[in-house]
């Protein structure tokens, strides 16, 4: 009996376990998942909690219940991976051996990594919405916040769901309009990027939307510290942006055990081959979802498409064959723009997000890089799809690799 051990029972770990369990014979392979608790959060829901759109109970389910019942879930904190011994040590002393290891422990926001961020103002005028607790606390803050200078800030890329800070800005604009207090709020979007987004054509579209909504952009802002006394962000090039309420996206880092095990880069991401997700340092370790260092968005949609390809490769790998499938970095994301509208983007390693139709060329029904009500319905419907299709590993009918069909490829020359 061979052992496949999966560290992390979130989006990537659960999908991989559920899909592989169906493909691997129960007499040949044991699949086990390790996680610290039983709370599987629907992380896209963190965006909606601060505005009261979702209740906390709508975004949490049992990790155990999301996993097929023939995959054991071990509760425990990981101390480290002993890659040379093919073993994982838990902090309580238990030792789990493996033949193949999947690291799927994602990334978490680390406010402690920025000077002053967790100072006196933390939880008072300094908030975040990338954790369940943070998002709930921000909802409470916004209920009674009288207005003033709202600053939305990204500390450093990469972050989970790189469009989420933009969505937060757009939804906040709508939220204050609905409360009849938009004129009392001055909004600034402070980013280390040269514009609203990483890729030029989408950056232009999102930049226009920020402008339409009267949200100022402070680009190329490398945050040095949060000055608690002045209540201001201070950059390395000595710019200051004062705030009354700061909503920051702290530095996102992989799990600390990855660093303790010597498996991570400077932000604890596991360096992998970008086409197969096989760790560069160890042939029997793979890193899936946010935990790896592929140059793609850190997003559930990437994990989903990536694992479709990974499963094919894995079946070849365990037979000692060469892995012949190549993941292309495919991502698609809905971007809430407020007023019950949303945009949709679809892209990969080689093609930036472009206008067009999705998933069927010329027909859609979704429109890319355009604000439509249908995209908003898609975004809301996605929560159901997540729990009922994506996480159980059921086929969603979307091809894993990106298609250029239906996209305005004439707007760019492909980077490859």
């Amino acid at each position: 009996m061979k052992k496949l051990l999966i560290l992390g029972g979130g989006t990537a770990g659960t999908i991989a376990a559920n899909k592989l369990r169906r493909k691997l014979s129960a007499t040949d392979w044991e699949i086990t998942v390790v996680d610290a608790d039983d709370n599987h959060r629907y992380q896209p829901g963190y965006l909606f909690l601060p505005f009261g759109t979702y209740k906390p109970s709508q975004i949490t389910k049992s990790r155990r219940k999301n996993l097929t019942k023939d995959v054991p879930l071990v509760y425990g904190e990981i101390d480290r991976v002993e890659a040379d011994e093919n073993a994982v040590l838990l902090t309580d002393g238990r030792r789990l051996d493996y033949d193949v290891l999947i690291i799927a422990s994602g990334v978490t926001p680390r406010p402690d990594q920025t000077d002053g961020m967790t100072g006196d103002q933390w939880g008072d005028s300094v908030h975040e919405f990338y954790t369940y607790e943070g998002s709930v606390a921000l909802a409470k803050k916004l209920e009674t916040w009288p207005g003033g200078r709202l600053v939305i800030n990204i500390v450093e890329m990469p972050i989970k769901c790189p469009v989420a800070p933009l969505e937060f800005a757009f939804l906040a604009d709508s939220f204050f309009k609905d409360k009849g207090m938009r004129d009392k709020v001055e909004m600034t979007y402070v980013t280390p990027l040269p514009g609203a987004f990483t890729k030029p054509i989408a950056a232009q579209a999102f930049g226009n939307t920020l402008e339409e909504k009267g949200i100022a952009v402070e680009p190329d802002f490398m945050l040095m510290e949060v000055d608690n006394e002045k209540k201001a962000l201070v950059s390395y090039d000595e710019r200051e942006v004062p705030f009354d309420l700061l909503v920051t996206i702290p530095l996102n880092m992989g799990a600390d055990y990855v660093a303790r095990s010597g498996l991570g880069n400077e932000i604890n991401l596991v360096p992998v081959d970008k086409f197969t997700q096989q760790a560069k340092a160890h042939a029997n370790i793979f890193a899936l979802g946010d935990a790896n260092d592929i140059p793609a968005s850190k997003a559930g949609s990437v994990a989903h498409f990536e694992i479709d390809i990974f499963v094919e490769n894995f079946l070849e790998y365990i037979q000692g064959k060469e892995m012949t499938h190549r993941f292309d970095g495919h991502a698609n994301c809905f971007i809430e723009t407020g007023g019950k509208k949303a945009m949709l983007i679809d892209f990969n390693y080689d093609w930036e997000p472009l206008p067009g139709k999705y998933p069927v060329a010329g027909i859609g029904p979704m429109s890319l890089l355009k604000q439509t009500h249908l995209n908003h319905i898609g975004k809301l419907a996605f929560r159901w799809m997540y729990w009922n299709m994506l996480i159980p590993g059921r086929p969603m009918g979307l091809p894993p690799l990106m298609s250029t069909s239906g996209k305005r490829t004439d707007l760019v020359t492909a980077e490859k």
Binding site: P158, M222, Y236, D237, S297
Partner: protein, 104 residues
């Protein structure tokens, strides 16, 4: 890919003038590139540029500012002093490496 002449040599560059062929670079080229963007090279500058060159060779990608500060041992504040305003871009430009991939 366009080519341009730097310090008497023909080199391959991208649309923004970042060199794209690792082995077309040498330290004289780096010095000329630095002059072109108004950076006066000192030993501290060279320490950073040499780290970038070696790291690119090992890792296959232009290191981020965070990587230069953690693995290269020159803190971010210092990098902003050495390469004012846009250190990530300026370091890569002088080192003859691809523009750091803004993440996705």
């Amino acid at each position: 890919m366009p080519t341009t002449t730097i310090n008497g040599h023909d080199v391959t560059v991208d649309d923004e003038g970042f060199m794209t062929v690792y082995d077309e670079w040498d330290e004289d080229t780096g010095k000329a590139l630095a002059e072109a963007i108004g950076v006066d090279m000192t030993d501290e500058h060279w320490q950073v540029i040499r780290f970038l060159r070696n790291d690119f060779k090992d890792q296959g990608a232009t290191p981020t500012i965070r990587r230069v500060s953690t693995a290269g041992g020159v803190d971010t504040k210092k990098l902003f002093q050495l390469f004012p305003k846009k250190p990530a871009k300026k370091m890569a430009y002088i080192a003859g490496l691809p523009k750091p991939a803004g993440c996705v």
